[in-house]
């Protein structure tokens, strides 16, 4: 681990004083003290409620600002402050990926059997979530507990339409929310992660944390570790965390997914098909609120892209895909259907273009945005106000198509220069 992200001597001495614990909950936040205080209190309440009597600790990684509260060794669940060691003038910039590594480092030193990670931007966090996340580790010997939120599939359409089918086709486990911020890991996975080279994601955005979460997934798959999903209920984000533009989201999230594809080529090229992942808890979709979607606006955005970005798409996509997109753009809204096979090819072709550096990666992700809106518009035009169960069934078909088209990706990845009509 690089020097700059190691624990401070003060933290080391606190860890020595604590000795060992059974459970740890990590919270990472650079400067949102009010939100962080609430999350830490929820974590402590959750630990008391679900694991009474267990030795537990809350690990708060921050950028070195004022602590949320003084570490109290005598408290039933102490809060351990993990501040960056900041060499040089100005110190190291805040990085959530590095902060999560700090949490893992402390959890490993404390010999915690399970470590849960919480995102501070979640408004719907309840004490029960801590139990739901950590219980599969302690009671069912699971190594990675991914979140399963009760969300409408139209909410988080990048996850529904790209991340879920793509990561499932690549790595195998059918994780509905593969980059969820709330998760739990066993000591085995924590140890494996600490042996890995740290990522280089800087900045305090969610992307740094998502990079970390993606590495957890690939590590768990590569190590043949046990993965499950815990039903957490609805996930709502605090006000002020929803305003990121689509291009930025695609650039941040897909850059790290495509980047991980480059790093784990040998792993995903060997995997065929997918495997169901155990769902712990009850998935009751009856309370999910419908989400309004302006389908016309989505399709118009696609058509505008089709009119103007032909030249850019031509550098990424084969001629047959371009012809199909042209034909699609002429269809009326009600008949607009982007075939699953074409959508899978589009996503695969963009991942390949990222790999072969056809153009600036920011431009590449910007060029994908109208296509994604086209897919979302098509999905909405086809499914309309269908209930979440039917929408999930339709997403299952999409995922199977991604898996069926994986040989296309492998072939193009291996021989990118081969003629592709």
């Amino acid at each position: 681990m690089p020097e700059k992200f190691t624990l401070t001597p003060q933290t080391e001495s606190q860890i020595s004083a604590l000795g060992s614990v059974e459970l740890a909950v990590g919270v990472t936040a650079p400067d949102r003290l009010d939100d962080t205080r609430a999350v830490i209190e929820t974590a402590r309440a959750g630990l008391r409620q679900r694991f009474p009597g267990a030795r537990a600790v809350v690990l708060h990684a921050h950028a070195g600002g004022g602590p949320v509260e003084a570490p109290a060794a005598e408290a039933d669940i102490p809060v351990l402050e993990l501040a960056y060691r900041t060499p040089g003038p100005g110190g190291e910039p805040w990085s959530r990926s590095a902060a999560l590594r700090l949490v893992f480092e402390a959890s490993h030193r404390l010999q915690a059997r399970g470590c849960a990670l919480l995102g501070v931007e979640v408004a719907s966090l309840t004490p029960e979530w801590i139990g739901w996340l950590l219980a599969p580790v302690t009671e069912r010997d699971q190594d990675l507990v991914a979140p399963y939120y009760l969300r409408h599939p139209y909410n988080g359409a990048v996850t529904s339409g790209i991340l879920y089918p793509l990561l499932r086709a690549l790595y195998g486990p059918r994780l509905r929310y593969p980059l969820g911020a709330e998760l739990a890991c066993s000591s085995r996975l924590v140890e494996r992660q600490l042996l890995r080279e740290p990522g280089r994601e800087a900045g305090g955005s969610r992307a740094g944390a998502q990079a970390f979460e993606l590495r957890l997934l690939t590590d768990a798959v590569a190590g043949g570790l046990r993965i499950c999903q815990a039903v957490l209920g609805p996930r709502t984000v605090a006000a002020g965390d929803t305003g990121t533009g689509l291009s930025t989201i695609l650039t941040e999230v897909l850059s790290l997914v495509f980047g991980e594809m480059e790093r784990s080529t040998a792993l995903w090229q060997k995997i065929r098909g997918s495997a169901p992942v155990e769902l712990v808890g009850t998935s009751d979709t009856s309370g999910i609120e419908p989400v309004p979607v302006d389908g016309k606006r989505l399709l118009n955005a696609f058509r505008l892209g089709q009119q103007n970005l032909q030249e850019v798409w031509g550098l990424v996509l084969p001629p047959s895909s371009l012809v199909e997109l042209k034909r699609l753009a002429r269809l009326p809204d009600a008949e607009f259907r982007l075939p699953d096979r074409l959508w899978a090819h589009l996503v695969f072709d963009f991942s390949l273009a990222y790999h072969t550096r056809v153009m600036s990666r920011d431009h590449l992700m910007g060029a994908l945005a109208p296509l994604y809106l086209g897919w979302f518009g098509s999905f909405h035009a086809e499914m309309g106000d269908a209930d979440p169960v039917r929408l999930e069934d339709r997403l299952e078909q999409l995922c199977l198509q991604f898996e069926a088209e994986k040989p296309y990706l492998i072939s193009r990845w291996r021989w990118p220069d081969r003629f592709n009509p």
């Binding site: 929803t242 999230v253 989400v291 955005a301 056809v358 910007g366 220069d417």
Partner: protein, 229 residues
């Protein structure tokens, strides 16, 4: 008197014929040198193109991000461009050898002038290459950004950004070559100012769409907007 005129004419004719006769070997050498250079150039071009094609030069350049070069190449192939460069360099070399055979002092003078001018040409070429790549990068960025902002005038804005950078580059290159002088600067100032004004109008008019849409969105914002992630 007639005999004196006759003598003068004979002498001048003899001088002209003598100087012409002294030029003939040089001219023949120049002609032979150019023909030989052309033939060698054709051969060298053929060999170069074959080697570069075997190496997959065009595809590699595209992968390395130098696809802008293809637009300036004959048949959109940088391989052909390099082949032609090799060909014309050999023809130029042949012509220089021929010129030295014709008149050694002429060549020295030309080379002196060329030598002092070459750094300017080099800088101008570098400027043109950098400007072209930058113009393409910016125009693509503006196009994609404008499409994602759903501006109908995306293409116009992209073309404006591209030509602005290209014009600036050409003006800088010509300035380095000392071509045009003040007329060029004046013309460029007028043209550049005109384009900036036109762009300001275009962006201003285009932005009304953005502003009005933003206000509309604020007014009609649903209680639970769909999140993308």
């Amino acid at each position: 008197m007639w005999s004196q005129i006759n003598d003068a004419l004979r002498e001048s004719l003899s001088r002209v014929l003598t100087s012409l006769a002294s030029l003939v070997p040089g001219l023949v050498a120049l002609l032979l040198s150019v023909i030989l250079a052309v033939l060698l150039g054709v051969l060298a071009r053929w060999v170069t193109v074959r080697i570069l094609r075997a190496f997959g030069f065009d595809q590699r350049l595209e992968r390395w991000g130098a696809s802008a070069l293809a637009d300036w190449s004959p048949g959109h192939s940088p391989t052909l461009l390099v082949g032609r460069l090799v060909h014309w360099m050999l023809v130029l070399l042949g012509a220089m050898v021929g010129l030295v055979a014709l008149d050694a002092t002429l060549m020295t003078t030309m080379l002196d002038r060329l030598g002092s001018y070459l750094p300017n040409v080099f800088v101008a070429v570098i400027l043109l290459i950098v400007g072209t790549v930058l113009a393409r990068f910016l125009s693509r960025g503006v196009l994609i950004g404008a499409v994602n902002l759903q501006l109908q005038s995306a293409r116009l804005m992209s073309a404006g950004a591209k030509w602005l950078v290209l014009l600036l580059t050409v003006a800088m290159a010509l300035d380095h070559l000392s071509i045009g002088g003040t007329i060029l600067k004046l013309a460029f100032g007028i043209l550049f100012g005109g384009i900036v004004l036109a762009l300001a109008l275009a962006v201003g008019l285009g932005s009304t769409e953005v502003v009005s849409r933003t206000w509309e969105r604020q007014a009609d914002r649903p209680e639970q907007p769909a999140e993308h992630l």
